[in-house]
Symmetry: C2
Subunit: 332 residues, 2 copies
DNA sequence: TCTATTGATTAGAGCGCTCTAATCTTGTAA
DNA sequence: TTACAAGATTAGAGCGCTCTAATCAATAGA
C-alpha cells in the first residue's frame, strides 16, 4: 500500500526530484531525452503525483466542493452530473457532501468542504442563512445553484422561474384553459419565482390566479388536489394545474385519477424540472425544462473565473427554461 | 482568501504550534487553561485545520473515493446517499466521480481518485475489467457495490439477485401465474444473478422460463414488450413480467397499456430496486427492494475495517432483498 | 535538600510536492 | 580562444500540518 514518490522516480531515472516535478507538470523546459526517461521510470513504478501534496506545495487547489441538499431528488443528481462533467473537463475534482435540508447539517457539511481549502464551492439549493454563505465566501469563491443571493461575493445560477411558469400558463391559455391553479412549492428556494411568474402571467391574460399551498413531493401533490376537490364542485374545478415540480405533478395526477378525473381529458397537468421521471413514456408529463447540464457547466465556469481572478463582479445566470409538451396537456 | 494557519493561532494564544495541534486533535494531555486559550484564539481567527496538510503529515487520509457509473440512476444516487451518511458519521469525506459506463472514462476517474491517496475507494457497479480493479486494490482498500469479484483483496456488497428474483417469481406463482417472462438486464452487472434466480425459481415450480433480452431503461422495456407482443397471440402471452429493474418495468407497463392490455388486470408486472420511482402512488409498482442505505453503510464499514487493518480476508456481503407488493401484481 | 516522577509543553524533522534562484551545459559570436 | 546567452538541471526552502523525543515545571519521596 506504500506508493512511490517523486524521489523514487527521480532515483530510478537518474535525475533530480525537481526535474521529475517539471515533467509531471508538462513543463516545456525539459529535454526530450530526460522527459522520456522520467516518464518511463514513472510508468514502471506506477507513479502518480500526490494531489494533496501538490496542492499544499503549490498553494493552489484542484478540488471543488459540492454540497447538495438531497441526491434522491433527480434534479439535483442531474445537476451534479453536469458539475462533474465540467469539473473533469477542467481538471478539477469534486468533493461531495449532502446537507439533508437541515441548516445545522448543512453548516457542518460546508465546514467540512472548506477544510479542504477547495478552489471553490458549489452550493446546490442550500437552506443555510445568507450570512453563513457570505462567511464561506470570504474563504473561497462560492456559486449558488437554485438559490439567489444579493451578496456581491457570490455568483448564482438559476433558471428563470418566472419565465418558466409563464411559459406553462401561456401554453395552457393557448389550449383554451381559463381556470388554471398553481400548486405552490412551499419552502423550496425556487417557489417564489414560479409563483410570481404564474400570477403575473394569469393576470396578463386577464385571469384570476389560484394558488394552492403544497410542497415538492408527490404526496403533497395528492393532498393539494384533495383540497381542490373539497373546495370546488366538478364544474368549478380548475381545468389545468401547474405543479411546483414534477414529483408534485405526479402526485396530483394520481389523486385526480383516483377521483375519477382523467388526465389530460378532464384536467391538464404541467410539471416543472423535466426530470427523467417526466420523460418516462408512461407518464409523458408536459413540463418546464431546466437545462441542468448547462447549469452545472455555468456554475463551474463562474467558479473558475473567480479562481483565476478574471472577475470580481458577481454574475447572475438566469437560464431560460423551455416548455416540453408531452401528453398531460390538451385543449379544453 | 488567505486563511489562518496553526502558526497564527499559536501566536495569538501564546503557545507553540505543537500545542495547537494537540488541542485540534482533542489530545487529553493539554491543560484546561491552554485548551481554552487555544480554542478561543482559533474561534476568533476562524481557524479550521487544513485537511490536506493533516493528511500529508499524518500519513493517513480521511478521504474516501467514490466512483459511480451514473448518478441519473436513482438506485446509484441513493446508494451514494447511504455512503455519504456512513462516511460523515465516521468522520470521512467523499470525493466523487462519474465513469459514465465507459471503461476508459472509468479508468481515468479511478486514477483521479487514487491520486488523492484516499483511505479507500468504493466502486459502484463499475464496468472496468477485473484486472484494473485488482491493480487499484494494490494501492488502497477497494469495495465493490453491485459487482462481484473473486479477488481476495477486494470486498463486495451486493444484493442477492438470485433470491430477489425468486421472491418475485414465488409471489407471482402464488397469485396463480404460470406464464411468467423475465426481461433481462443485458450487460448490467446484476443481470446474471437475477436471470439465474428467475430460471431456477421457475423450474422449481415446474414452469418453463422465458427470458427476453432487454436493458435497464424504460425504452428497452417497451421494446421487449413489443417483441413479446409480436411473438405471441393474446392467449399465449405471459400473464406476468419480471423486469430487470424499475425503469425497465415502467417501460414495459407503457407498452402494455398502449397495446390495450391493462396492468395488472391483464398482465402483472414486477420491477427491481424499489427506487423512488416505484413508490410513486401513480405507478405503485410491485418491486424487489434492495436495502440501499444499508449497502452504503456496509461498504463504508468494510472499507474502514481494512483501513484499520482489522481484517485482511475479503468479505462478501450478500444482502437479502425483500418484496414490496404494490398495485401492479394481481391474482390471475 | 536533592532526585525521581509525572504531566504539560515545545523543538525540530519530515510528509510529498512546488518554486525560486542558482548552477551547469551547450552553442555561438567576437 | 573567450565570453555570454539560452536552455537544461538542481539545490534548498517551504506549504501546513503531525509526531517523536526532548525539555520544562511541579510535586513527591527519601
Amino acid at each position: 500500500m506504500v506508493r512511490p514518490t517523486m524521489e523514487d522516480v527521480a532515483a530510478k531515472a537518474g535525475v533530480s526530484r525537481a526535474l521529475v516535478s517539471l515533467v509531471m507538470r508538462n513543463s516545456p523546459k525539459v529535454s526530450d531525452q530526460r522527459r522520456t526517461a522520467v516518464l518511463e521510470a514513472a510508468r514502471e513504478l506506477g507513479y502518480e503525483p500526490h494531489v494533496m501534496a501538490r496542492a499544499l506545495a503549490s498553494r493552489t487547489s484542484t478540488v471543488l466542493g459540492v454540497m447538495v441538499s438531497d441526491l434522491r431528488n433527480a434534479f439535483f443528481a442531474e445537476v451534479v452530473e453536469g458539475l462533474d462533467a465540467a469539473a473533469q473537463a477542467a481538471g478539477f475534482d469534486l468533493i461531495l457532501n449532502t446537507g439533508g435540508r437541515s441548516p445545522s447539517r448543512e453548516r457542518a457539511a460546508l465546514r467540512s468542504l472548506l477544510s479542504f481549502r477547495p478552489a471553490g464551492v458549489v452550493l446546490l439549493s442550500p437552506v443555510v442563512p445568507a450570512s453563513a454563505i457570505e462567511d464561506a465566501a470570504r474563504q473561497c469563491p462560492i456559486v449558488l445553484v437554485s438559490r439567489t443571493s444579493r451578496a456581491s461575493t457570490v455568483d448564482t445560477v438559476n433558471d428563470d422561474g418566472e419565465a418558466g411558469a409563464a411559459l406553462a400558463v401561456d401554453h395552457l391559455v393557448e389550449l383554451g384553459h381559463r381556470r388554471i391553479a398553481h400548486l405552490d412549492g412551499g419552502g423550496a428556494a425556487t417557489s417564489a419565482a414560479r409563483r410570481k411568474g404564474y400570477q403575473q402571467a394569469m393576470r396578463g391574460h386577464g385571469l384570476e390566479p389560484l394558488v394552492v399551498r403544497s410542497e415538492h413531493t408527490d404526496h403533497a401533490g395528492e393532498k393539494a388536489v384533495h383540497e381542490l376537490l373539497g373546495s370546488y364542485d366538478r364544474a368549478g374545478l380548475p381545468t389545468a394545474l401547474l405543479a411546483g415540480n414534477d414529483f408534485n405533478a405526479v402526485g396530483a395526477i394520481s389523486a385526480l385519477e383516483e377521483a375519477g378525473l382523467r388526465v389530460p381529458e378532464d384536467v391538464s397537468v404541467v410539471g416543472y424540472d423535466n426530470t427523467s421521471l417526466a420523460a418516462l413514456r408512461h407518464l409523458s408529463l408536459t413540463t418546464v425544462d431546466q437545462p441542468r447540464t448547462e447549469m452545472g457547466r455555468l456554475a463551474i465556469e463562474a467558479l473558475l473565473e473567480r479562481v483565476r481572478g478574471e472577475r470580481t463582479e458577481p454574475v447572475r445566470h438566469l437560464l431560460h427554461p423551455s416548455l416540453v409538451v408531452r401528453s398531460t396537456t390538451i385543449a379544453v
